[in-house]
C-alpha cells in the first residue's frame, strides 16, 4: 500500500475541526480502496502546536518513510512543517490552511488544495456588490491569523471597490459578550457587516446582533463558523446570512453524493475542511500510487496531474504569484429556509436567487 | 478522667516521646514541666488528636481516643488552647470567641460565656471588633484562653498560657486558672513558669527528653532538689 502521512490537530483547541478532517480522511481511504488503491495512513497529532508538528513531520519523513504528507491544519503548523518538507524532499499537501504565504514563498514541495485567504474576502464582496449597491462595510473578526488576515485583504479590496470601511473590530474569541462591540457597529450604521469567526462565535455574534437589533443590508460570513451545520440549524438567526465556502454540496453530483454518504456515516453535514481533506488525501495517494511510492515522482505527479471530484477540477499550479496552488472558485451561499443555498457566482448558483437586502429580524 | 499510658511518638524519624504515663483526675490541676523540646506540647497534641500516636493509649472518661478526630475529641469536652495561640487572624475578637462555641451543645451558653471572658479579660471587651491578627502578643494569648473557655470544656489543656504576658497579668492568669478549675473544669497545664504553676497545681509531672522522670504533688516538686536545680535555677 502507499504510505500517506497525515498531520492533524487531533487534540488541542482545533480539535473540533481536526475531527471533521479525520472523517474526511477516512472517507477518502475507503473510496480509494474501492478504486483499488490501498492506502496506509500514518496519523500524527500536532495538538495545534508548531513544535509538535515538527516532531510529527520528522517522524513521518524519516521514521515512517511515508511517500507524501497531508496536513497540518493550522497555518502555524503548516508553516513550521513547510520548511522541513523542503529539506526532507517529501511533498506536503495542505488541505485547509489559509495563510497566503504558504504557497507564495516558492516552496517546491508544498501544495495546497484550499483557496488562500484573499479569495474568501474577494468572493464575498464581489457577491454583495452583484446583489445591490452597498456603500459602506464594517468588519468584525476574531483576532486570529485567519480572521485578521482575511479582513485585512477584505478591507483593501472593499476600499478598492469603492466601499467605505466604517468599523474595524478585531476581538478575542472566548468572551460571552459581544453586545457592546455590536452596539458600536450598529451606531456606525454599515450597509454590509463582514464577519469572520470560528465555529460557535458565529452563532453568538448573530444571536446578539438580533438582540440589539443590528440590521444592515447584508451579513457576510467569512467561511469558518458561518459555514457549519450548526449555524445552518439555527434558522432563527442564520436565515438570510451569506457565507463564503471552499466547497458546497450542491456544486456537483459527486459533491452531493459525498455529502449524503458523509452525513449518513457521521451524523452531520461535512464541512469544507472535511471535503478539502478528502480531496487532498485522494490526490496525494493517487500521485504516490502512480509513482510507486517514490517521493520525487510523487511530487512530479502532484504538480502535473489533475483530478475531477467533489471539488470540481483540482490542479496544483502557479497563478498570481502562488505556486502549487489549487485554483478554487469559492462559492457564496445564503441560508434560506434552513439550508445553505449557493447564490454566487451565477455559474454555480443554478438559478437560486439571493435575498437582498436583509429583510429584518423575525 | 484522662489516662495516658506508654505513649510513644515520633515526628518522622525523630522520636520525641518514649513511653509516657500520665493521668489526670476529675477536678485536678495537673502540670507538666520540662525543658524545651522535652515533648510537653507533643503530649497535648496527642490528646487533642492534632497528631496521632504511634503506640500507647489515651483514654478520656474511659473512652479510648485512638480513632477519634480532633473535632470529635472537642465534642467530648477535651479542649486545647494551643501553643503560639493560633488566633484566627482575619476574624474579629468576637468572631474568634464565637468560634470557641462552635459546637451546637455550647451555643446556648454563648452569651454567658462571652460575658465571662470579657470580665476575665477586660482588654478583649475593649477590642471586640479588632482583627485577631493585629492584637499584641499578650492580647492574643488572652483571646486564645478566652476562646478555649467558650467551649465549656470538661478538661482544658493549656499550653504555656503565661507566655508573653506581663507580670501583673501572669499572676492574674494563674488566679484565673485556679478560678476556672474551681468552677469545675479539670486542667492539664504545660508551663515554663514552673514556680507559679507548681504552686497552683494539685499534681505535676516532670518530663525529660520524652520520659516522665518525676511526679508528685505541686508542693512536693517545688521542694525537690532536681526540680529546683533544673527548672527554678536555684
Amino acid at each position: 500500500p502507499v504510505k500517506v502521512g497525515f498531520i492533524n490537530s487531533i487534540t488541542g483547541p482545533q480539535a473540533p475541526i481536526g475531527e471533521t478532517m479525520t472523517n474526511g480522511m477516512e472517507m477518502a481511504v475507503d473510496d480509494l480502496k474501492k478504486r483499488g488503491i490501498d492506502v496506509k495512513v500514518v496519523k500524527q497529532d500536532d495538538m495545534g502546536k508548531p513544535d509538535k508538528a515538527i516532531s510529527a513531520i520528522e517522524q513521518l519523513a524519516t521514521g515512517d518513510d511515508v511517500s507524501v504528507i497531508v496536513g497540518p491544519y493550522t497555518s502555524a503548523c503548516a508553516a513550521a512543517v513547510a520548511k522541513q518538507t523542503e529539506q526532507y524532499q517529501v511533498a506536503e499537501v495542505i488541505p485547509a490552511a489559509s495563510k497566503e504565504d504558504l504557497t507564495r514563498l516558492g516552496y517546491k514541495w508544498v501544495f495546497r488544495t484550499n483557496a488562500p485567504g484573499d479569495v474568501y474576502a474577494k468572493s464575498l464582496i464581489d457577491a454583495a456588490l452583484s446583489f445591490g449597491k452597498p456603500k459602506s462595510v464594517a468588519f468584525i473578526y476574531e483576532s486570529t491569523d485567519f480572521g485578521s488576515s482575511l479582513s485585512k485583504v477584505g478591507k483593501v479590496y472593499a476600499e478598492k471597490m469603492g466601499l467605505k470601511v466604517v468599523a474595524d473590530e478585531g476581538y478575542q474569541a472566548g468572551s460571552p459578550d459581544y453586545r457592546s462591540t455590536l452596539t458600536k457597529l450598529k451606531a456606525a450604521n454599515p450597509d454590509l457587516v463582514f464577519m469572520v469567526s470560528y465555529v460557535a462565535d458565529a452563532i453568538l455574534l448573530m444571536r446578539q446582533s438580533r438582540e440589539i437589533g443590528l440590521k444592515p443590508q447584508a451579513f457576510l460570513g467569512g467561511g469558518a463558523g458561518f459555514d457549519t451545520s450548526q449555524f445552518e440549524k439555527e434558522a432563527q438567526i442564520s436565515t438570510n446570512v451569506f457565507s463564503v465556502t471552499q466547497w458546497t454540496p450542491d456544486s456537483s453530483p459527486a459533491a452531493e453524493d459525498f455529502n449524503k454518504r458523509y452525513t449518513a456515516r457521521f451524523g452531520k453535514r461535512p464541512t469544507y475542511h472535511a471535503a478539502c481533506t478528502y480531496v487532498s488525501i485522494i490526490s496525494a495517494a493517487e500521485a504516490a500510487a502512480k509513482a510507486g511510492g517514490d517521493r520525487a515522482k510523487t511530487r512530479e505527479n502532484l504538480a502535473t496531474m489533475t483530478w475531477n471530484g467533489i471539488m470540481g477540477t483540482v490542479h496544483y499550479g502557479a497563478y498570481d504569484g502562488f505556486t502549487n496552488q489549487n485554483h478554487v472558485q469559492m462559492p457564496v451561499t445564503q441560508y434560506q429556509g434552513g439550508k445553505a443555498v449557493t447564490v454566487y457566482p451565477p455559474s454555480l448558483a443554478k438559478g437560486a436567487k439571493a435575498v437582498y437586502p436583509f429583510p429584518g429580524w423575525k | 478522667m484522662l489516662e495516658i499510658s506508654r505513649l510513644q511518638f515520633a515526628y518522622g524519624d525523630l522520636q520525641v516521646l518514649w513511653g509516657v504515663d500520665l493521668s489526670v483526675q476529675q477536678g485536678e490541676i495537673v502540670t507538666v514541666v520540662g525543658a524545651n523540646g522535652a515533648g510537653k506540647s507533643t503530649i497535648l497534641r496527642n490528646c487533642s488528636r492534632l497528631v496521632k500516636a504511634g503506640t500507647g493509649a489515651i483514654t478520656f472518661q474511659g473512652e479510648d481516643l485512638a480513632g477519634l478526630q480532633s473535632h470529635e475529641v472537642v465534642a467530648r469536652g477535651l479542649v486545647q488552647v494551643p501553643e503560639a495561640r493560633r488566633i484566627f487572624p482575619e476574624m474579629t475578637v468576637v468572631e474568634n470567641l464565637r468560634m470557641g462555641s462552635y459546637l451546637p451543645a455550647t451555643r446556648p451558653d454563648r452569651q454567658r460565656n462571652m460575658d465571662r471572658v470579657f470580665s476575665l479579660f477586660p482588654r478583649l471587651g475593649e477590642r471586640r471588633k479588632q482583627l485577631g491578627g493585629t492584637m499584641s502578643g499578650g492580647e492574643q494569648q488572652m483571646l486564645a484562653i478566652g476562646r478555649g473557655l467558650m467551649a465549656n470544656p470538661k478538661l482544658l489543656l493549656l499550653d504555656e498560657p503565661s507566655l508573653g504576658l506581663s507580670p501583673l497579668f501572669v499572676k492574674n492568669i494563674f488566679e484565673i486558672i485556679k478560678q476556672i478549675n474551681a468552677q469545675g473544669t479539670t486542667i492539664l497545664l504545660v508551663e515554663q513558669n514552673v514556680y507559679q504553676s507548681l504552686h497552683i497545681s494539685h499534681r505535676a509531672y516532670v518530663l525529660e527528653t520524652g520520659r516522665v522522670v518525676l511526679s508528685g504533688t505541686g508542693p512536693e516538686l517545688l521542694e525537690n532538689a532536681h526540680v529546683k536545680k533544673a527548672f527554678l535555677g536555684i
Binding site: E19, R179, S180, D201, I203, I237 | L50, V79, M91
Partner: protein
C-alpha cells in the same frame, strides 16, 4: 448616549455571571487556600449537564438548576474528599498543578465522551430581548443576573451569620486551630469545594442558553475568575461580586471606547493598577 447605556447595561448583566464564577472560586480559595485552576472546567461540566438535560429531557436550563446545582455540588465534594484533600498541606505550587491536572482530566474526558464538537443550546429566548428606552436588555442575561443576585445574597447571609458559615471562614484561616474548636475541617473543605463547584456549575448553566459548549470552554473563564477574585479581594464574597460587575462593565466599555481587541487588555491593566494601589484587592483585608 444609547451606546453608552447599552454597553453599561450589558456589562453589568454579564458581570453578574462573572461574579458568580468568582464567588465560587473565592469560597474555594477562602477555605482551602487552593487556587483552583480547574474552575473553568467545573463550569464546563455545568454546561454539559445543562445541555444533556435540555437535549434528552427537554428541561429548561433555568429549571434544570435544581438538578445541576446539587449534582455539581456532589461532584465537587467528591473531588475534594478523594483527591484535593490530600494536598491541602502541600506547597501552593503543587496544589496549582494538581488542579491543572484535574482540569485536563475533566476537559479531556468530556472530549472523549462527547467529542470536541461545539454544542449549542437554543431556547426560545436565547436571542430575545426587552427594549427599555431604546436599550435592549437580553432576556437570558437578565434572568441569569437575577439568579446570581439571589444566590449571592443567600451565600453572604450564610457565611456571615451562621455558625457553619463562620466555621468555613475559620477553617480558612487556621485549620489546626479550627479543629481545636471542634470544627470538622475535612467536612468544611468538602462543603466549600462542593459549594464552589456548584456555583461554577450554576454559572455554566446560566451561560448555556446564550453561549456555546465545548470541552475546552473553561480556560478563559478560569482566568476571568482569577481576575474577579483578586480584584475583589481573595475570600471576599462581596468583593467577588463587585469585581465581577466591575470587570463586566470594564470589558463592555473598553470594547466600545478603546477597541474590541483591547478589552481584555484593558481589564488586565485595570487589574494590575488596582493591585498596585490596593495589594489585597478592593475589599481584601490588607494584612501581610
Amino acid at each position: 448616549m444609547i451606546v453608552f447605556f447599552q454597553s453599561l447595561i450589558s456589562g453589568i448583566l454579564v458581570g453578574g455571571i462573572y461574579a458568580l464564577i468568582g464567588i465560587g472560586l473565592t469560597i474555594i480559595f477562602g477555605v482551602m487556600r487552593v487556587i483552583n485552576f480547574a474552575h473553568g472546567d467545573l463550569l464546563m461540566l455545568g454546561m454539559y449537564a445543562t445541555w444533556l438535560l435540555f437535549k434528552y429531557l427537554g428541561l429548561d436550563p433555568y429549571v434544570a438548576l435544581v438538578v445541576t446545582m446539587p449534582l455539581l455540588f456532589l461532584w465537587g465534594a467528591l473531588l475534594q474528599k478523594v483527591i484535593i484533600n490530600r494536598v491541602l498541606g502541600a506547597l501552593p505550587q503543587n496544589q496549582i498543578l494538581l488542579t491543572i491536572g484535574l482540569g485536563l482530566i475533566m476537559s479531556n474526558s468530556v472530549m472523549l465522551l462527547f467529542t470536541s464538537d461545539y454544542r449549542i443550546l437554543t431556547t426560545s429566548y436565547s436571542s430575545s430581548s426587552f427594549s427599555l428606552l431604546g436599550i435592549s436588555i437580553s432576556q437570558p442575561l437578565l434572568y441569569s443576573f437575577l439568579v446570581t443576585v439571589a444566590i449571592t445574597g443567600v451565600l453572604f447571609w450564610f457565611l456571615q451569620t451562621t455558625d457553619t458559615g463562620q466555621a468555613i471562614r475559620a477553617t480558612a484561616q487556621d485549620r489546626d486551630a479550627a479543629q481545636l474548636m471542634g470544627i470538622n475541617v475535612k467536612r468544611m473543605s468538602v462543603l466549600a469545594f462542593g459549594l464552589g463547584t456548584a456555583l461554577a456549575g450554576t454559572a455554566g448553566a446560566l451561560l448555556a442558553p446564550t453561549y456555546y459548549i465545548f470541552p475546552q470552554v473553561g480556560g478563559p473563564f478560569t482566568l476571568k475568575a482569577f481576575v474577579v477574585v483578586v480584584l475583589g479581594g481573595m475570600g471576599s464574597i462581596v468583593g467577588a461580586t463587585l469585581g465581577g460587575v466591575l470587570i463586566g462593565v470594564t470589558e463592555s466599555m473598553a470594547a466600545v471606547y478603546v477597541g474590541s481587541g483591547l478589552k481584555e487588555l484593558v481589564v488586565y491593566v485595570l487589574f494590575l493598577l488596582i493591585l498596585l494601589f490596593r495589594p489585597a484587592g478592593l475589599l481584601g483585608k490588607s494584612r501581610a
